[in-house]
């Protein structure tokens, strides 16, 4: 069974739909939840630490580790020469070497790994290894890379209609550009792996990774072992956000190499500053756009170019820039459209997955366009947004997928009514007219986010369910728990299937020997895929149980109700525990795997046409801000959100994802400012210089509600994915800041606002707006 219908029965005893706490809540608050660095180590365990390249670009001449290798407690210094198998660990395309071979690609790139008896010693020794290089100038800007056509992957264009005809027939035309910073994941638990050799020549790897199967695959390839000799286990991550999708592997592989060489357990944990330096970020983007539109602000032609700064290698950048392109329309219909995506190569660490996966960097272009059009026509930006929403007949995306769920208009209207958009907008305009320093801004922005991996074969998942003779249930699935509440959701799904209390279902660590060949827990797909696979496994066992009673008691198979730990049917009732025991004694298998593959999706990349997404998740947010026009400081004072998760599997978890996603998105667009120095070294390499939102940054008034609707597609209990979409609700923060600044021009100038909108960036926008107004004044006076 690859796909099947699920609907929740009308019952007050459903496990699905309850706000059950996170599966590890009690162990987390007591400090008993083990993360990898908390694991007790064997007495002879070792520590590995990478030796870092001292330049961003150049040739490696020599690694001199002779002296360090004499230090007491230092066991080995391993280089690329020590790799028995594959040296390139590029996850999709080649380009990511495990250790520098000849070319140095970014500042800090690992050139060797030290193995020593303590963490401190390994770190100190790694710094003492002498690395000799021929340095070259580093090329760091995306603009230069675009000018030079320096790509990590070829450009790709989506077109629908005739763009030239669109512009020729348009009433107005505007152009603009937007610079978007990257974003450090800042998972609180840094990259870490712990590897033990097994007595049969294999390796047991514990790794904080969103992708255990890929770690298994790469460890096996690098060490020339079959995949069956490598087992990867992952119980929980202290945050992932995409940063442990591909980029957890390198550290696990280096530890595995060291373990294989020494025959001892080896741990590798990056210190925070090195985690900053050595792992990729959200891609910075530099995007340009030109739009034609009519007097009502309807977009007649859109020509958009998104340029992702990919760093030195492809990593996942092909798909990330694709997703930016797939979201440059957001909820808006462009009559004629061309969207070009460039994957620019720069001499920095390779940028990687981060919640939204390029989507945010594409989507914000659409929001910038809506605001620009509104200012140009002197209209309310909310009206321009509404007039452009996808609607029946205006429903073709730039990639030729037909939009068929039109809820955003209703969501916008509801939120505008509930949060008093119109009266607040008036009050704010009034305030701004007389306020010399503080300006307020208000913005409502929608989100439409495509759900599915855009690489089709990744849309599959497996699970393993055992029922024991006491009626308790062991659940394992291929997804990884990084805080998002995937485990409790899948637990709820299995408890629902068997009609047992949540506590009867135990969920165990993700392991490659339990569920093989899994996809990364990414693309918001965790519960869609693994929930369905677990349901499949549970239903298989449940069907066997029903068939057993049908045969034993002559029961009507349609009469069964599994609820509250009881099984009721036309011929009687028994507890689930009694049934499990009876079935066991009747020699019925109480264990099953489950499998799921997403239906309907397809995409022909050569033509840029297809249905890459099974469905879309939606949300609408309204943000009010205050901006200090003297300093550029800002505060988010009120946020209202209405978000579409279909039928929620767990409203508490879903609201947690929405709030957390919003605040993380707000951080990307406001305080989180990555800076590289002109030598290509990361200058903001720790939380002292890189500022994620703190508790006081949370909007003072923060209202989050779920939109009441079911997923029209047959997802697990008609729910929708929730991991990434809420991140882009924060676009309203950026738009609201721009709105506040725009008030300085009486809302006729759409200021350039570089993201993140730091005080400096906002003050620059203020200065530009004042200059525009002055010029306009002079121009008007002259006339």
């Amino acid at each position: 069974m690859r796909h099947f219908e699920t609907r929740l029965p009308k019952s007050s005893h459903n496990a699905v739909g309850r706000p059950s706490p996170h599966d590890s809540a009690v162990t987390q608050v007591t400090g008993r939840a083990h993360y990898i660095d908390d694991q007790p180590l064997p007495a002879d365990a070792l520590h590995a630490y990478p030796v870092l390249a001292p330049v961003a670009q150049g040739t490696l001449k020599q690694i001199d580790s002779a002296e360090v290798e004499q230090w007491p407690g230092v066991l080995a210094v391993l280089t690329t020469e020590d790799i028995p198998g594959r040296r390139d660990i590029g996850p999709v395309f080649p380009g990511d070497v495990l250790l520098v071979e000849d070319r140095i690609h970014y500042h800090g790139q690992p050139v060797a790994v030290v193995v020593a008896e303590s963490y401190e010693l390994a770190r100190r020794a790694a710094r003492a290894v002498s690395v000799e290089v021929d340095a070259e100038a580093a090329q760091l800007t995306v603009q230069k890379a675009v000018a030079d056509q320096r790509w990590v992957r070829p450009p790709f264009t989506l077109t629908r209609g005739d763009i030239d005809q669109g512009f020729a027939g348009s009433d107005h035309e505007l152009a603009g550009e937007i610079s978007l910073g990257g974003q450090e994941h800042f998972y609180l638990e840094g990259q870490v792996a712990l590897v033990s050799p097994t007595d049969d020549g294999g390796l047991f790897v514990k790794c904080s990774t969103q992708h255990p199967s890929e770690v298994q695959h790469l460890v096996a390839d690098v060490l020339n072992k079959p995949m069956q000799a490598v087992t990867v286990e992952m119980r929980r991550m202290g945050g992932g956000f995409g940063g442990k999708e591909t980029q957890a592997a390198q550290w696990a592989i280096l530890a595995a190499m060291a373990a294989d060489v020494t025959g001892r357990t080896v741990k590798l944990r990056l210190a925070r500053a090195d985690d900053f330096r050595l792992t990729g970020k959200r891609h910075p983007f530099w995007n340009r756009y030109r739009v034609g539109f009519d007097d009502e602000g309807r977009i007649q032609a859109a020509d958009i170019e998104v340029n992702g700064n990919c760093g030195y290698s492809p990593d996942l950048s092909d798909a990330i820039v694709d997703r930016a392109m797939f979201h440059a329309d957001n909820t808006y219909f462009y009559e004629q459209v061309r969207i070009t995506g460039h994957r620019a190569k720069t001499d920095t660490v390779s940028h990687t997955a981060f919640r939204g996966f390029g989507g945010p960097q594409g989507m914000i272009v659409a929001e910038a366009i809506m605001d620009d059009v509104a200012r140009h026509l002197g209209k309310d930006p909310a009206d321009i947004r509404r007039v452009n929403l996808y609607s029946p007949g205006r429903d073709q995306t730039p990639y030729h997928q037909t939009v068929d769920q039109f809820v955003v208009g209703d969501m916008m209207q509801k939120l505008m009514d509930e949060a008093d958009y119109t009266s607040r907008r008036q009050a704010i305009a009034e305030f701004n007219r007389t306020s010399p320093i503080i300006r307020k801004g208000l913005s409502i922005t929608p989100v439409k986010f495509g759900i599915s991996f855009t690489v089709q074969h990744l849309n599959q998942a497996g699970a393993l369910v055992h029922v024991y003779t006491d009626g308790s249930i062991h659940l394992n699935h291929g997804g990884t728990e990084m805080g998002q509440g995937l485990n409790v959701k899948v637990q709820q799904i299995v408890a629902q299937a068997f009609g047992v209390p949540l506590a009867s279902v135990g969920v165990s660590a993700t392991r490659t020997d339990k569920v093989p060949n899994t996809s990364a827990t990414a693309a918001s797909s965790g519960s869609d895929l693994n929930g369905m696979a677990a349901l499949n496994a549970a239903n298989t066992i449940k069907q066997r149980l029903i068939e057993f009673l049908v045969e034993r008691d002559g029961a009507d198979p349609d009469s069964f109700v599994f609820e509250q730990g009881q099984v009721q049917y036309d011929q009687g009732s028994l507890t689930f525990k009694e049934l499990a025991k009876a079935a066991y004694e009747a020699r019925i298998s109480l264990s099953s795997t489950g499998y799921y593959a997403t239906p309907k999706i397809h995409f022909n990349r050569a033509e840029g046409k297809g249905r890459p997404f099974f469905y879309f998740a939606h949300g609408v947010s309204m943000t009010e801000v205050e901006v200090d026009t003297l300093t550029g400081e800002q505060a988010v004072t009120r946020v209202d959100i209405l978000h579409d998760v279909g039928h929620s599997l767990n409203p508490a978890i879903d609201i947690g994802q929405i709030e957390g996603g919003f605040v993380q998105g707000m951080g990307w667009l406001t305080t989180e400012d990555l800076r590289w120095d002109d030598q290509g070294a990361l200058a903001s390499f720790g939380p002292a210089t890189y500022k994620i939102p703190a508790i006081g940054d949370m909007p003072a008034e923060f209202n989050v509600r779920l939109y009441d609707s079911e997923n029209p597609e047959t997802t697990v209990f008609r729910s929708k994915a929730v991991g990434e979409p809420p991140f882009m609700l924060a676009n309203s923060v950026w738009c609201a800041i721009r709105d506040a600044v725009s008030s300085l021009s009486d809302y006729r100038f759409s200021p350039p606002l570089t993201a993140p909108a730091t005080p400096e960036s906002i003050l620059a926008a203020v200065t530009a707006t004042r200059a525009w107004s002055l010029q306009k004044q002079e121009h008007d006076d002259a006339e």
Binding site: Y35, I437, Q664, P687, A688, M698
Partner: protein, 482 residues
């Protein structure tokens, strides 16, 4: 020997590296790994623990960063970690400490890695307030704990919820009191091989040690120095802790000034200082986090001589003096003469900073203290501007300024002082006077801001002074942490 109480258990340490942090001791030496390492630099709060010490009102509990405090500095203290809050067998929310239960029931943990640190900051709140304090107090208490998952709303809710359960009986203070009462005073000495840690209790003892070990590292709050150990991997031969030196812990109110011991923590001296200079409250509340302010000291900040240390510009504008003490005796130096060059001061190798003398407020004195940073909470200043003057008949006199982030040292702008002296306090005057800042300062462009922004924002902040005078319009953004 170092002795302290860990949760309910007395601990003795004879041997350990002098620079070993409380965090590393917990995680690697005592197998108590509930306390997490997020950054090892005092910026994330994941390693927050609570320290109890005898105070004016019985045992006082404060939350600090375990990555910045050295294990030797635990001597004679009560260390409470996340493991100490409930029984190891606790499984249901009802069996947990109210702080923990509230976090479970409000869905305050997602990935859980920051959670023990939040739990301990919330526990400190619980130990210091019988009832839920106002939201701004809660925010100020938790501003040094970062969470990347939740967006904080459920954590703030949990801070209210924890007060709605029956109050947990305090088993901590009685245990601490019993430990303190039974304790035989022993010198705080600890070593590992030739490397030594010690915490002298008198200034005389400290000066002697300073001569004996000229290369020893002096540590007070450790909020900066500890990074030399955890980030730069320095391994000092000797570490001398200043936190037990009685003379450095004194705070005296004289007729014309406040004298603050160099090792008095920010949180201890702030109530007194802010009685006189309430305008500095925002700046101090944005100096590091609550954890940092529980540890950090004026002596540490000034001795460190960072161009972006926040107290120095204020002390410059207030014309404070420093007392430097050495074997030859004591001398007073104005703060304006203390800094020589980037991280260079007049402090001699055998001297220590003993205290800071801040003149009391004059009735006609006005003070403005503005900090600009990318994030409002727990962020290092992009620039800090302090302006003090007497106002008579609408004119400014005795103008003194202090700037951070504008030069290699914290500096007053003599040109600005002169440009404002005797002038009427108007927007025009302030705008014109701002032009002279470019004469005194050539700030650098760095990770926090460009040179242009630093200059422009300082000029604009002078306008803020003028707008504040008018008291007509809203002058500041309404941020929850302001």
């Amino acid at each position: 020997m170092i002795t302290f109480l860990l949760n309910q258990t007395p601990v003795q340490i004879h041997e350990a590296a002098p620079s070993l942090s409380v965090l590393d001791w917990l995680r690697t030496k005592s197998a108590q790994r509930g306390t997490k390492e997020g950054c090892a630099s005092g910026d994330c709060g994941a390693c927050t623990v609570v320290i109890g010490a005898p105070g004016d009102h019985g045992v006082e509990y404060r939350h600090v960063n375990a990555c910045l405090m050295l294990v030797g500095q635990l001597h004679g203290k009560h260390l409470i970690t996340v493991e100490g809050l409930s029984e190891p067998s606790a499984q249901t929310p009802e069996q947990l400490h109210p702080v923990q239960r509230a976090m479970v029931e409000c869905h305050g943990s997602q990935c859980g890695f920051c959670t023990p640190g939040f739990i301990m900051s919330m526990f400190a709140l619980y130990m210091n307030f019988d009832q839920c304090p106002p939201r701004d107090t809660v925010i100020a208490h938790l501003g040094g704990n970062l969470c990347r998952c939740t967006g904080y709303r459920p954590i703030l809710d949990a801070c209210e919820r924890m007060y709605e359960y029956p109050r947990s009986s305090d088993t901590f203070r009685p245990a601490a009191q019993a430990f303190f009462d039974a304790r035989q005073p022993t010198p705080a000495v600890m070593s590992e091989g030739p490397r030594q840690f010690t915490a002298p209790e008198s200034l005389a003892e400290l000066l002697k040690l300073r001569q004996q070990w000229p290369d020893a590292r002096l540590i007070a709050g450790g909020t900066d120095l500890s990074l030399a150990f955890t980030q730069a991997l320095e391994t000092p031969a000797q570490v001398i802790s200043l936190t037990d030196v009685a003379e450095l812990q004194q705070m005296t109110e004289h007729n014309d000034c406040l004298e603050i011991g160099a090792a008095v923590s920010y949180e201890r001296f702030l109530p007194t200082l802010l009685q006189h200079y309430q305008e500095a409250e925002e700046m101090f509340h944005r100096l590091g986090s609550k954890q940092i302010r529980h540890s950090g000291t004026l002596g540490g900040s000034l001795g460190n001589a960072s161009p972006i240390g926040d107290p120095a510009p204020l002390l410059l504008a207030l014309q404070a003096d420093l007392q430097l003490v050495g074997p030859g005796g004591s001398r007073w130096v104005p703060v304006s003469e203390f800094f020589l060059a980037y991280r260079e001061t007049v402090l001699k190798d055998d001297e220590v900073i003993a205290s800071v003398r801040v003149p009391k407020r004059r009735p006609s004195q006005a003070l403005y203290c503005y900090k600009i940073s990318k994030r409002i909470e727990d962020d290092i200043s992009t620039v800090l501007l302090v302006l003090s003057f007497d106002i008579t008949d609408g004119h400014m006199h005795n103008v003194r300024s202090g700037f951070g982030g504008m030069a290699a040292i914290p500096m007053s702008s003599e040109s600005l002082n002169a440009a404002l002296e005797g002038q009427p306090l108007t927007l025009d005057t302030l705008e014109q006077a701002g032009q002279v800042l470019a004469d005194d300062f050539n700030p650098m462009s760095d990770v926090r801001a460009t040179r242009q922004y630093r200059l422009q924002v300082c000029q604009n902040l002078l306008l803020r002074v003028g707008y504040e005078q008018q008291a007509m319009a809203q002058v500041r953004i309404q941020h929850a942490a302001l």
